[in-house]
Symmetry: C2
Subunit: 222 residues, 2 copies
């Protein structure tokens, strides 16, 4: 168990705090498709991805899911320990998208260290701010700009025009067509790729799931 | 200048940190309608509302606004100092909804204290988590459940049925009609009230701005 290499603030902890975390940390493996954390129901604790991939998402009453962000190697999953924050009152689900090896730290232990160590608290702050940013970006694009539907519709049109599912087009050009910025198009295309709608390679966007892309074009990601 | 009464973690600071904050804090008044903070453009610093009301909102390219949350007396405005967090990359605007008296602390000074003091960092964490919760709730209701449109449509229908803009109806009853929970209806009605769409009093919902309510019924808050 080498929890120290995954926590950037490790060297700023006292030996007692380090020992506390090391004693409490345990190794865990989740199978592909396993739901690790179910909203406010449980408070699994802090999870650090050693190898694999986790997906954080929300789910509507009707069962529609929306991916918020993904956690890759070395990422720390905060929402599986959302009970650490009194103020967090929303439900995020976390599932393993492939077999994922994780280090688990009980929420109570992490909270104790966070309340003692400014370094741990500030690191946690930045993580929270970063997830917040991801969600705000998504909300802005989906809610205000309908960039998801517009991009999906554009890709489908191009595909029909060219009679091909493989489009030779730069992100810059797509952005110009949609009156948007290249960075925005690149980020949304990556989101599409992670959702299995398209695959990206240099200079090419390939449509992977035309049916779902049509749904997005019609209804947006909602 | 009595910054200490507005910072719950004051007693956990060292005299040096307390002095630093006290020296840096200044008093400021904003007029009704004044935009205090314009997204990533500026980093005004931390603002503590002494008396008045601030509104945090996002704005689309087309100029459509969406209120994220409000800051009342004693609330601390974090996003006017969003440059404190490396990871915050989204634009929140803040305006004064009435004449508002505030204490201003430069972002660099607050950050310095936050990086030294676990108490300050954890308090900031909770604030961030609380704003995050507000935004997630709004996103969930607007994006997934269309609770905003459904509630607006319901109120307009009831008003027509009863030939009155003043509806004698409990939140519980509305929730039953919409297949939702009372808490959700109460929260969305409060949001409507803050947006000037309705006014609420015991057992009564009064339609205040029928035109805008029709817009919400048709298009949702987007």
């Amino acid at each position: 168990m080498t929890v120290e290499q995954y926590l950037p603030f490790w060297n700023q902890l006292t030996p007692i705090q380090q020992n506390l975390l090391q004693q409490a940390a345990s190794f865990r493996t989740a199978k592909a498709g396993e739901v690790i954390h179910k909203g406010a129901e449980d408070c699994v604790g802090l999870l650090i991805v050693v190898k694999g991939r986790l997906r954080a998402y929300t789910i509507s009453d009707e069962g529609r899911e929306m991916t918020l962000y993904r956690l890759l190697d070395r990422d720390l999953c905060l929402f599986s320990a959302s009970c650490m924050f009194q103020s967090i009152q929303f439900d995020v689900m976390v599932e393993a998208e492939m077999e994922t090896q994780m280090i688990h730290i009980p929420a109570s232990v992490y909270r104790q260290v966070m309340h003692q160590s400014a370094a741990a608290a500030n690191y946690t702050n930045e993580l929270l701010a970063s997830h917040f940013s991801d969600v705000m970006w998504l909300m802005d694009q989906v809610l205000f700009k309908r960039m998801d539907s517009r991009l999906a519709a554009f890709l489908l049109e191009e595909s029909e025009l060219n009679q091909s599912r493989s489009l030779k087009i730069t992100h810059e050009t797509i952005a110009r067509h949609l009156g948007s910025a290249r960075e925005v198009v690149t980020r949304m295309l990556k989101y599409f790729q992670e959702e299995g709608l398209v695959t990206l390679s240099r200079g090419t966007v390939s449509i992977q799931d035309e049916k779902r892309l049509r749904d997005v074009a019609r209804e947006s990601l909602r």
